[in-house]
């Protein structure tokens, strides 16, 4: 999207819709399952994306956030991360979203491992991209995801024994 020419409202709406579908789950997960507090932060991030021209024409000629996807996720993360708040944000289980028993353990994780595991599992982000979003090193992110997996599984993820050694 060039600054000089503005696209029609329908194009902007479709780009925003795709971006919203992409970042919605992440915002809700960061907010501990509370959609009522996640949605305003998500809208702020989308507006920031519009203002910063993170929506650009892709190869198919459609306006899209794909090129600046990490920046958009980072904006959501910056909006709802715990460090800027006085108290750590607790998990708000059962406030808005109907949750099954399987999802309860996930919301017992702290915010950072929760966000990292969500990005890895549902959005297929690489560890480098997750580190870019949450603002840490790749090694820290990898160990956080590993610990979160151990917590949810109750043991370490299985792998071949020979692969533990460096060949």
């Amino acid at each position: 999207m060039k600054q000089e020419s503005l696209p029609p409202i329908k194009t902007v709406y479709h780009a925003l819709e795709n971006a919203a579908v992409d970042i919605y789950g992440f915002a809700v997960v960061c907010h501990g399952g509370a959609t009522w507090s996640a949605e305003p932060d998500m809208m702020d991030a989308l507006l920031l994306g519009l203002e910063s021209f993170w929506f650009v024409d892709g190869v198919d000629g459609q306006l899209s956030h794909r090129e600046f996807r990490e920046e958009l996720f980072r904006a959501v993360w910056d909006k709802c991360k715990e460090s800027g708040r006085e108290k750590p944000m607790p998990a708000r289980i059962g406030t808005e979203v109907p949750m099954g028993h399987d999802e309860m353990a996930f919301y017992h994780l702290p915010q950072l491992p929760r966000a990292a595991l969500y990005l890895r599992t549902k959005k297929r982000f690489s560890y480098a991209s997750i580190a870019l979003v949450v603002g840490g090193s790749e090694g820290v992110v990898r160990s956080e995801v590993e610990k979160a997996r151990e917590f949810l599984l109750g043991r370490r993820v299985r792998a071949m024994e020979w692969s533990e050694d460096n060949f």
């Binding site: 600054q3 503005l6 409202i9 902007v12 709406y13 925003l16 819709e17 919203a20 579908v21 919605y24 789950g25 809700v28 997960v29 399952g33 959609t35 949605e39 809208m43 989308l46 507006l47 519009l50 203002e51 979203v97 949750m99 399987d102 999802e103 353990a105 996930f106 595991l117 969500y118 890895r120 599992t121 549902k122 297929r124 982000f125 690489s126 480098a128 990898r142 997996r149 949810l152 599984l153 993820v157 299985r158 792998a159 071949m160 692969s163 533990e164 460096n166 060949f167």
Partner: protein
């Protein structure tokens, strides 16, 4: 070419391998001819599936769509106002361009006056 380690195996099963993804994939295909390797990969897949099943995902509802439409309308209106309205003209790029041009012309005139005074 190195043998895949534990993290490579997990990356491969999750289908989010890094730079040397193709090399790892080729090695893993070769190793997959072994029964032991196939069983281990199946166990790994099962573990990651059990974890993935516990991670929730959400989709926005119709009210979010309405908010998005309002947001896109507001944004376009805001940009057009900044661009064309006299009230917001001082915030537009055209205003800064005009200021730059006026500044340039003023400097040029001052320079010309200075040179003519020096000539006398």
């Amino acid at each position: 070419m190195r043998m895949p380690d534990r993290n490579d195996l997990i990356d491969y099963v999750e289908d989010t391998a890094g730079q040397d993804r193709d090399v790892q994939r080729r090695i893993l295909h070769m190793l997959a001819s072994s029964q032991v390797m196939r069983e281990s990969m199946a166990e790994l897949k099962r573990d990651l599936y059990l974890i993935s099943a516990q991670v929730p995902d959400y989709a926005p509802d119709a009210s979010t769509g309405a908010e998005l439409l309002r947001l896109s309308q507001t944004w376009i209106q805001l940009v057009y106002e900044r661009k064309f309205s006299l009230r917001h003209f001082h915030r537009s790029r055209e205003f800064y361009g005009l200021m730059l041009a006026l500044g340039g012309v003023t400097l040029l005139i001052l320079g010309m006056i200075g040179f003519s005074l020096m000539g006398k």
